[in-house]
């Protein structure tokens, strides 16, 4: 059976790898890029302690964001909570930075943007756009508060260009890779389905071949004898052989493990031939029947064929659940005892004749 799990798993595994790559980028940026800049510009801040606390707040936001995205696609509450914390820390840090040195000392800008990318990566693209726009506006607002220093404004625009560009590029790249992974797993799924169909076809072919071999042993010689004229169709014994072969052909065509209650199905197929001869056949089932293995089914249907072939005008087939298996019985006006197949595959045979009525029972025990 094809289940979507393996391929969905495969696509999920790729997506997780992309998430980890983005997470790695964010962590490296915050530790190396932002952390390095913070330490390097240490003497320039009014309060280094405040900047360090903001850096730690953002580190916590990254941790929270990492937990969210590693657990699966985050909901909007979680994602935006992390994003807003990062944005607030970034804005506070920028506001506390000395005016006119934005480009040199502001470490927080990039980290906030990357945190936004991390948590909003697999949400709607517009959410990330809104976040990045809000961050740009906040930083611009801080600068306006500081009196719109020309150097800062130039730095701001420069940073906006490369960092937002990089962030958008990464987000778009991950999206494209997600899509590709989806396509790849779709292709793998259809390939697995094709393989399965080939295997099923092979099983069916093998089963047909087995049936053909069975027919080679019994039906083919009979047809050959009829064709050669050594078997006389007027001979009742030849007619019985023909009837048995016709019933077996039908039974073989009906044999299939896919049909629920297939024993009943096969018995109906066997009864069909007798009905064509004008024998009234009734089939009754008492209770839900347990599944019967195909070997045992074959012994039972062989018994059915033997009794039905000998029936003159009527036959009753019943199936009933008994203690440890099922009892299939045949009552028919055969006029004589019938050569039943030998007990085999857990099936026991019994028969009793009263006048012209024969009772036979094939009892299969599961133990």
């Amino acid at each position: 059976m094809t289940t979507p799990q393996p391929t969905a798993l495969m696509s999920g595994r790729y997506q997780r790898a992309f998430t980890l790559a983005v997470l790695f980028l964010v962590v490296v940026w915050h530790l190396g890029g932002a952390g390095g800049q913070l330490l390097h510009s240490r003497p320039d801040y009014g309060s280094f302690a405040f900047q360090a606390i903001m850096w730690l707040v953002m580190a916590l936001a990254i941790t929270a964001g990492a937990l969210l995205v590693l657990r699966g696609a985050p909901g909007w509450r979680g994602a935006w909570a992390v994003a807003v914390v990062a944005l607030a820390a970034s804005t506070a840090s920028a506001a506390a930075s000395p005016a006119g040195q934005m480009l040199a000392v502001n470490w927080s800008w990039g980290s906030a943007g990357w945190i936004g990318v991390l948590v909003l990566l697999r949400r709607r693209f517009s959410e990330l756009a809104w976040f990045l726009a809000a961050e740009a506006l906040a930083t611009l607002g801080v600068q306006a508060w500081d009196g719109l220093n020309r150097t800062d404004l130039a730095g701001f625009l420069g940073v906006l260009a490369w960092s937002t560009g990089a962030q958008v590029a990464v987000a778009a790249g991950v999206r494209a890779l997600d899509l590709a992974a989806g396509h790849a797993s779709e292709a793998a799924r259809s390939e697995a389905g094709a393989r399965e169909r080939v295997a099923t076809a092979e099983l069916i072919r093998a089963a047909r071949h087995a049936r053909w071999l069975v027919l080679q042993e019994s039906a083919a010689p009979l047809v050959a004898e009829l064709a050669a004229g050594t078997a006389d169709p007027g001979d009742p014994r030849v007619r019985v052989r023909c009837a048995v072969q016709a019933a077996q052909l039908r039974r073989l065509l009906a044999e299939s493990d896919e049909v629920p209650g297939s024993l009943v199905h096969e018995l109906h197929a066997s009864a069909d031939v007798a009905e064509r001869r004008g024998v009234a056949v009734e089939i009754e089932t008492a209770g839900p029947l347990p599944p019967v293995p195909s070997q045992a089914r074959r012994v039972i249907t062989d018994a059915a064929i033997a009794v039905l072939t000998a029936a003159r005008s009527q036959a009753r087939i019943t199936l009933a659940v008994v203690a440890a298996g099922i009892a299939v019985s045949f009552v028919a006006d055969t006029g004589a005892v019938v050569a039943l197949p030998a007990a085999d595959a857990g099936v026991a045979m019994e028969q009793q004749q009263d006048g012209h009525i024969l009772w036979a029972e094939a009892r299969w025990n599961s133990r």
Binding site: R316, T318, A320, Q352, D354, W359
Partner: protein, 237 residues
Amino acid sequence: MEQPVTVAIIEDHPVVTEGVASWIAADPGQRVRLVQAARDLSGLHTASQPAADVVILDLELSGELVTTQIPELVAAGYRVVAFSGHSDPAIVMETLDNGAHAYVSKEEGRDHLVEAVLAAATDRPYVTRSQAKAMLADQRPARPALSQQELQALLLWFQGMSKASVARRMSISENTVRQYISRARAKYAATGRTAPSKDALLARAIEDGVIKPGEIMPYTSFARAVADHPSPGVPGQ
């Protein structure tokens, strides 16, 4: 000579009514007399006195199952023999639990309907093969416990053997075979909901020596058993 048993038939297909009439007419002893034929139950409900000893009831009238109306007929003093094209064991068991004396499928009518009517008239059990099938297929938690011998006799009877053949197969007398099958039926009359028809059947079974009072299990509340193990086709659902 004994008075013939009077019978009413409720059947919405006239051709079936005619068939039943012809089976009754073909009975050599003329033991049954058809006194009424109707297409629905309204005539029986309005009569103050039971119009017949036994009612042959088609379980499906104008496309509706009427098994739930059996208790009313029983309360009005009729003995009911269900005659139906359905052979679904759940419907058979529901019919018997509602107080019908016997269940005869339409395939069995020719051989069994007149005999079933006669048995019902004297409150004696009559088990058709379709009824045996339903008893063998019964999986309900509140089903009565049948002995191995009773089950074997029911199974062989269901399989299509004559009672004489069943007797030979089991190395017992034909009378004992009847006894086993009747006892199984009586045990069913002792389970499920109460009905005057079931009491009468049980009383007659004890009188005839089919079953001893000690073999009858106490009444079990079907409603409770069903609440524990809900299953479709059980009355009261």
